[in-house]
């Protein structure tokens, strides 16, 4: 069987950054397996700007951001197999894939980086009643049709869900000559970035209807109208508030789900909250030598954080491939506990004895909070208290734990990340 040091599953932003950093950490035998015909993943259809502010200190479009990594990949001569679908990752790190050149083939990898990204929640997952006509698209599918295929999915548009892709597509469809009647959001707050609400809705006079949802789709063959109602605090439609919006298109931006079918089949432990693998501070999953990063691990808000995280996974996968996992490599570490409005943390375990000088812990909150303190406890001992004016579910948060926090503290049993009143 063909053998390689590091096999990266997915050539989107996470896979690219992971492959480069694995190479730079000394594992030059890296292979990227990508299902599309080009690298870059979802960035290819994100032709708007705003990418890379943190990483490159400039505003790039999605394809430009991806190109920076692709160029580096080429420079290093990293092998990429395109149009290649990974079918299976075994716990023994045999990666089986298929493409038109080689048919079905397997690679024995020393370590594997999972970077499969995420998918959009479809209409069916929401149980929106009504007909099932043409004209209902997830926002990402519509984005692909408009930006890659040069096609127009509709002219009179209603958008359900205020995730970032939905907000971006409200603007995009408007610029392409469509009329966007409104963006309806079930929750009392948006699931997207504040800057997108301002730049994509406010600037174009598109109303954002918070606490509203689509209650019915009309039109047997093509969408003819949708009905939108206000919802109560239990998210149930309020009778009498229904309003009919004639339209030919309903775009859905109602959440992203990490694509973990391969992980599940490999027996990797998944978090019911993130729906991604449960990882330690090396981003190693419950299966030794298999690492995860990017949106397959948890859905990110900014690609810059994906790249950072993936670089870590790449470096750790290289270390593992070189048989240099260091002290205490088998142990998962001290569990992190998310509470007080913190939904989850990535990583879920930290082993201080093997961690770098710093470990970034990323998390999301479950509601909009104002003037709260993000606090970290080692058992009962508070080690961090950081004021945040606004925390929102749409934006990823982080705290940075340092080696020194753990100095002279033996036997810590849990690390708590929580929100507290001012």
């Amino acid at each position: 069987m063909e053998q390689h040091d590091v096999v990266v599953v997915g050539g989107g932003p996470a896979g690219l950054a992971a492959a480069i950093s694995a190479y730079e950490a000394g594992s030059t035998d890296v292979v990227v397996l990508e299902r599309d015909v080009q690298l870059g993943g979802i960035l290819n259809q994100c032709i708007h700007n705003g990418f890379g502010l943190h990483t490159f200190k400039e505003e790039l479009t999605g394809p430009e951001y991806a190109a920076r990594y692709e160029d580096r990949l080429k420079e290093l001569g990293i092998c990429c197999l395109m149009d290649t679908m990974v079918l299976d990752v075994s716990p023994e790190r045999v990666v089986t894939a298929v493409n038109t050149d080689r048919g079905v083939f397997s690679i024995q990898a020393k370590s594997v980086v999972l970077a499969m990204g995420c998918r959009e929640r479809p209409r069916g997952a929401l149980n929106i009643p009504g007909f099932r006509p043409a004209g209902v698209f997830t926002a990402g599918t519509a984005q692909r049709l408009v930006n890659i295929e040069g096609q127009m999915p509709g002219k009179e548009v209603v958008i359900l869900g205020s995730g970032d892709i939905g907000l971006i597509m409200a603007r995009r469809m408007t610029l392409e000559g469509a009329h966007v009647a409104c963006v309806a959001e079930l929750m009392p707050y948006s699931g997207g970035l504040k800057r997108n609400i301002v730049q994509c809705l406010d600037d174009y006079g598109i109303p954002l209807l918070l606490s509203h949802t689509v209650t019915r789709v009309e039109g047997k063959r093509r969408v003819e109208a949708v009905w939108i109602a206000q919802v109560d605090e239990k998210l149930r439609p309020i009778a009498g508030t229904e309003k009919r919006y004639p339209c030919d298109t309903l775009l859905l931006s109602v959440g992203l789900l990490p694509e973990n079918e391969l992980s599940r089949a490999a027996g990797i432990e998944l978090s019911p909250i993130t729906r991604g693998p449960v990882v330690d501070e090396r981003l190693q999953t419950s299966v030794e030598g298999v690492f995860a990063c990017g949106n397959v691990l948890h859905v990110h808000d900014l690609v810059d954080y994906v790249s950072q995280e993936a670089a870590m996974a790449g470096r750790m996968s290289a270390q593992y491939a070189q048989g240099d996992s260091g002290e205490g490599s088998a142990a998962r570490g001290i569990p992190l506990v998310a509470q007080g409005g913190v939904r989850y943390t990535v990583p879920a375990f930290i082993a201080p004895e093997r961690m770098d000088q710093k470990t970034t812990v990323r998390f999301r909150v479950d509601n909009v909070y104002k003037n709260k303190f993000v606090c970290v406890y080692l058992d009962d001992q508070r080690i961090m208290r950081k004021k945040r004016q606004v925390l929102a579910p749409g934006e990823m948060e982080e705290v940075v734990l340092k080696q020194e926090h753990f100095a002279e503290r033996d036997g810590v049993e849990r690390i708590v990340v929580t929100l507290e009143e001012g």
Partner: protein, 483 residues
């Protein structure tokens, strides 16, 4: 306009019409199927429970009971001949109320009288072993090992393809608007795209079979479309039950079934609501909520967060709750195959034979000589179940097996292209879905729809704007630009 002339015109390309067409294709006759939609399997046949019923439900002595049991017996060999998905997984009718147990005995007795094989009552302990997720309320169940599940699209498409291989013509997007007796004893069937002439007409028009029947007969029949709503769960939930689980009706009402599907999903439903409009295949908030609530009556912890889609189908119900099959008394050579509601899918192989025999007797048709009739039809490989070795062999024969288009349901470009060049024309995303499974999975076509559209453009020379979800009027795209 050309007036085509046929021995037999079948109105409706659902599972019944296609079963009749296949049976008739054994005979020396010119047969045409007229369908108002753009493909076969677009009405009741596409939105139902996909169950092969054992046959204990229908009243003994009815046509429904007879054809159910016969259809079940024929189904398994037919599935092999036509290379379609069918699994004889058995069914359980679960009693959740000790005081309603008599109902199980009644079903058992009726089933035996109907000729259903191997029925028996299983008690709670055995039931729990057979079905670990059964509700704590379950006390006993009627076990029917002859029952099973079938791919309703696969069955209908395979019947049609096999009929077409044997010379039956299919005309799509031709809605029948009139049926008139001619002086010479033939029928003139008017459609939205010209007339056709037939010596014999078969009415297999589903929820419209009353309208078609009433065009020729003074003895009117009436179909009341009965809506059933369903939830379909992801394959991650497909193992939640191993058998089709029904609920024994109690004074608390009728439950819904929970069943695996041949595609590996979990199906729950249906509701039953009589409606006026035979077009109202829309789901309702109330209906979907009812399904979600009722499935818990027999099965514990149905993982409803794994729902990937919901749908509604209309059963062609008539007040007598009986199939209407046979030559219409005041309309010679007009044969009804009407009011085929559940267990119509199960019964379809037997319905096909019965209607065919009727037509043959009327027209005196002769069987074609041995060797002039193809009895089997091949499907496409299922990449979800074949070994990697076998998949590798397929790639050697056709590299397009190496390009996965639908990642959720593992469908390659090769399978899609194969289905585009079969005897029944394929033009829409839904037609491809029903044949290959592409777009049917957890992303519901989010990733693969644009890729399938590219294949349609390339293989069939279609303009992107002409590609539809399910026939004219359901175009995926609008014309570009503001002009």
């Amino acid at each position: 306009m050309d007036v085509g002339s046929y021995d037999v015109v079948i109105i409706g390309a659902g599972v019944s019409g296609c079963a009749v067409a296949r049976e008739l294709s054994r005979y020396d006759a010119k047969v045409c199927v007229l369908e108002r939609e753009e493909d076969v399997c677009c009405g009741t046949s596409k939105a139902n429970s996909a169950i092969v019923h054992a046959g204990f439900d229908a009243q003994t002595g009815t046509l429904m009971a007879k054809l159910n049991v016969e259809g079940n017996a024929l189904m398994w060999q037919l599935a092999k001949d036509l290379d379609i998905g069918a699994i004889q997984c058995g069914s359980l009718v679960v009693c959740t109320d000790e005081s309603a147990r008599d109902g199980l005995d009644e079903l058992l007795a009726r089933g035996k009288a109907n000729g259903v094989p191997d029925l028996r009552i299983v008690e709670r302990e055995e039931l729990k072993e057979m079905e670990p997720n059964i509700s704590d309320q379950a006390v006993a169940a009627l076990w029917a090992p002859s029952a099973g599940i079938v791919d309703p699209f696969g069955l209908t498409i395979a019947l049609a393809e096999n009929a077409a291989q044997n010379g039956v013509e299919f005309e799509f997007c031709r809605e029948v608007t009139s049926v008139r007796a001619e002086q010479d004893g033939t029928w003139l069937v008017g459609t939205t795209a010209g007339d056709v002439r037939a010596r014999c007409v078969v009415n297999a028009a589903g929820v419209y079979s009353d309208a078609i029947h009433n065009m020729v007969s003074s003895q009117k029949i009436s179909i009341i479309p009965r809506k059933g709503e369903y939830l379909l769960l992801d394959t991650t939930a497909g193992q939640h039950v191993r058998h089709t689980v029904f609920m024994l009706p109690t004074k608390m009402g009728k439950g819904v079934l929970v069943s695996p599907t041949v595609h590996g999903n979990l199906l729950v439903g249906p509701t039953a609501l009589d409606v006026d409009d035979p077009e109202s295949t829309d789901t309702t908030a109330e209906g979907l909520a009812e399904v979600a609530q009722k499935c818990a009556l027999t099965v514990a912890n149905v993982p409803l967060r794994e729902v990937i889609t919901s749908f509604a189908g209309l059963r062609a119900h008539q007040p007598d709750h009986e199939f209407i099959i046979g030559e219409v008394a005041d309309a010679p050579r007009f044969v009804d195959c009407a009011a085929i509601e559940s267990p119509g899918l199960t019964a379809s192989p037997a319905v096909g034979k019965m209607v065919c025999n009727e037509v043959c007797a009327i027209l005196g048709l002769k069987e074609r000589p041995e060797g002039e009739w193809i009895a089997t039809r091949k499907s496409i490989p299922n990449l979800n179940i074949i070994s990697f070795e076998d998949w590798a062999k397929l790639c050697e024969e056709d590299p397009a097996y190496g390009r996965v288009i639908c990642r959720c349901c593992r469908v390659s470009e090769a399978q899609i292209i194969t289905m585009l060049h079969r005897p029944i024309p394929v033009r829409s995303l839904d037609a491809i879905k029903r044949r290959t499974g592409a777009t049917m999975g957890r992303c519901q076509g989010g990733f693969c729809s644009p890729k399938i559209m590219e294949i349609l453009e390339r293989e069939l020379g279609m303009e992107p704007e002409s590609i539809t979800k399910a026939g004219p009027g359901s175009e995926i795209l609008v014309q570009k630009g503001g002009e």
